[in-house]
């Protein structure tokens, strides 16, 4: 550890505070809006601290009385959970063996295949949305979870494969061969050695995948138009689309929508610690 001078310390802390403020200010404002009454929000000049705290917006969204608002919010929440978690689970199930084979098995064509996979990931959604829409319509998949799960897998598989592959590349070849000598087959090698060592990367990949699927708006907007499969981003946008936008309600929905990914990040945080490789090889 090098020692920092006091002025350096002050500088680092104040910059960190500044960064924190910049990042957190919008979230804070969103929260304030969500607990303010409509009157406070529309008052001029703006009152930063609401006079009365009201949880009315949350109550409206989460329950009571079977209002249409609550119904559309809660089904959208459920849809989002189903779609994001399924897409993530399927993508990882595909990406793990794919990444392992890209990283470990020989063959020059394999490398170009990975490049093709990544190229599809780079493609802008507008370029492929029309043919996709036509296909989904043809297959009768519009307004289903499956349509979104399929599309999201198309996005997530190349991404998670690439992420895991670069991580597997960092695991020494000896750690594949040692278990083989110890009597393992390939699948056992992956299960007992490669995956546990790559746990931080798996956690990161899962988190990124859930976030990407959770936040995705474009395909969700086009492929769903009622509560059967509509996801949160679309549902929230709907709240804003009426004649009078209820900002308090939108903010409350926004706050609620951030809770699941934040909770997930919190639980995965433990597995995201790095340094698992240390001590395996000498030198």
């Amino acid at each position: 550890m090098t020692r920092r001078s006091p002025s350096q310390t002050i500088m680092i802390y104040s910059l960190a505070l500044l960064l924190g403020a910049v990042l957190l200010a919008p979230v804070l404002w969103l929260f304030i809006m969500s607990v303010s009454s409509t009157r406070d929000l529309t008052a001029l000049p703006l009152t930063w601290i609401p006079e009365t705290i009201s949880l009315e917006n949350y109550a409206k969204l989460l329950g009571g009385g079977g209002s249409t608002v609550a119904e559309s919010f809660l089904t959208a929440l459920r849809n989002s959970l189903i779609v994001a978690l399924s897409a993530t689970a399927i993508s990882l199930a595909v990406a793990v063996p794919a990444a392992y084979s890209f990283s470990r098995l020989p063959g020059r064509r394999r490398k170009s295949l990975l490049f093709v996979a990544i190229a599809t990931f780079m493609m802008p959604p507008v370029a492929i949305v029309l043919p996709l829409y036509a296909m989904m319509g043809e297959l009768g998949l519009l307004n289903t979870h499956l349509s979104l799960i399929l599309v999201y897998c198309g996005i997530l598989v190349p991404f998670t494969t690439w992420l895991l592959k670069s991580n597997f590349d960092g695991i020494p070849m000896d750690l594949d061969e040692a278990p083989i000598i110890d009597g393992a087959n390939r699948l056992q090698v992956i299960w007992h050695v490669t995956l546990p060592i790559a746990k931080p990367a798996l956690g990161a990949a899962a988190l990124m995948a859930v976030l990407m699927a959770w936040d995705e708006f474009f395909y969700a907007l086009l492929f769903t138009n009622d509560i059967r499969a509509k996801t949160l981003p679309v549902a929230i946008a709907d709240f804003a689309a009426g004649r009078v936008a209820d900002y308090g309600l939108i903010s409350a929905a926004g706050i609620l929508a951030t809770i699941p990914p934040v909770a997930l990040a919190y639980f995965l945080q433990k597995s995201l610690v790095s340094g698992l490789m240390s001590g395996s090889v000498k030198g």
């Binding site: 020494p172 000896d174 750690l175 061969e177 040692a178 278990p179 083989i180 000598i181 110890d182 009597g183 393992a184 087959n185 056992q188 007992h192 050695v193 546990p196 060592i197 746990k199 340094g275 698992l276 490789m277 240390s278 001590g279 395996s280 090889v281 000498k282 030198g283």
Partner: protein
């Protein structure tokens, strides 16, 4: 216990030949050391035996069983990797027990076996640690423990002691030697350190550029090297080798190193031979002998290394017992018993 037999084994990586026509038979319970310069194919040969690489042509037998198509897992050969390759997410006990877990032994059996192996390698106190919390020597012992856990027929070790400091290396060398006696397992040991090879081996296999140069006991290699390469590789400091002209004037070919010394070089062809003298076989004399000028003196305590230039060779080294008063620039002479000369033909093979 099981021996290993290699018959005309070749290995190519693509078009690039790495192992060339290796014939070798390793007896059951023997400790054989592969030694040679870096890149000569020692690790590759070991990996062929382990089943991590396929042989390109030739035959490989384990005991009486043809094994070149056998999967690594089915060979019952254990290996200690050059890099240890411990599983970083498992504790020491789990590392050692891993092969047993794969073999689906009952848990109690595994614990018993792990405890026994841990005891023989003095690892008991470390069972709950992860590899990251161990010193180099401890990691080394864990790697060996993992290899020993399932009582392998054959144990392969790839430079297990490189990267350890000198003291630890000596200690581990004794330990390995003790283990070999205790287990009576067939062991193949790779190193590029000839001292390790000399001290550990029942037999040494010297390799160069994918070919086996000589196979023999340490003393055979030391006293009757098959060619110049082996002669220079075994022994430290290395053998003084120089070329000498043949004198055929008296019928039998001889070489003349000084006025008094003429050595018979029977069977030599051509006009020149290579002669070799080990530094430890040169005794300083006041008059006569092979004369030279001292260029440097190294005092090692137990003995003294004298570097010299002379008419027959530049940059020679002699090893003198004890502390010697020889000084740089001095004129010096050495006596060498006739049977201590090694003669090699022009192509490098022993006469």
């Amino acid at each position: 216990m099981t021996g290993l037999t290699l018959k005309q084994v070749n290995k190519k990586f693509g078009e690039f030949p790495v192992i060339h026509e290796v014939d070798l038979s390793i007896d059951s319970g023997e400790l054989v050391v592969f030694v040679g310069p870096s890149g000569c194919g020692k690790s590759t040969l070991l990996r062929l035996i382990a089943g991590l690489e396929d042989i390109t042509s030739g035959e490989f037998w384990i005991g009486g069983q043809r094994a070149d198509q056998l999967l690594a897992a089915a060979r019952n050969i254990a290996m200690v990797f050059q890099s240890y390759a411990l599983y970083p997410h498992m504790t020491v006990a789990e590392n050692i027990g891993f092969p047993l877990k794969l073999a689906k032994l009952p848990r109690a059996r595994i614990a018993e076996k792990v405890a026994a192996v841990g005891e023989s390698l003095r690892l008991g106190a470390l069972f709950d640690r992860k590899p990251g919390q161990l010193s180099g020597g401890q990691r080394q012992r864990v790697a060996i423990g993992r290899a020993l856990a399932r009582d392998p027929k054959v144990l392969l070790l790839d430079e297990p002691l490189s990267n350890l400091d000198a003291a630890l290396r000596l200690e581990m060398r004794m330990e390995l030697s003790r283990l070999h006696k205790q287990l009576a397992a067939t062991m193949v040991y790779v190193t590029h350190d000839q001292v390790e090879a000399m001290t550990l081996a029942d037999r040494i296999v010297i390799m160069r550029e994918g070919k086996v140069e000589q196979v023999g006991t340490p003393l055979e290699l030391y006293s009757r090297p098959a060619n110049v390469f082996v002669a220079e590789f075994i022994g430290s400091p290395k053998m003084n080798v120089f070329s000498a002209d043949l004198d055929r004037s008296g019928g039998n070919p001889v070489i003349r190193l000084s006025e008094q010394t003429a050595l018979s070089a029977e069977g030599a062809a051509g006009s020149r031979v290579f002669a070799g003298i080990r530094p430890e076989h040169m005794t300083p004399v006041d008059d006569g002998g092979l004369r030279g000028v001292v260029t440097a003196v190294e005092h090692l305590g137990a003995d003294t290394l004298v570097h010299f230039d002379s008419a027959f060779m530049e940059g020679g080294i002699a090893r003198i017992n004890g502390i010697s008063g020889v000084r740089t620039g001095e004129n010096i002479g050495f006596q060498v018993a006739a049977e201590q000369y090694h003669l090699f033909s022009e192509n490098g093979n022993r006469l």
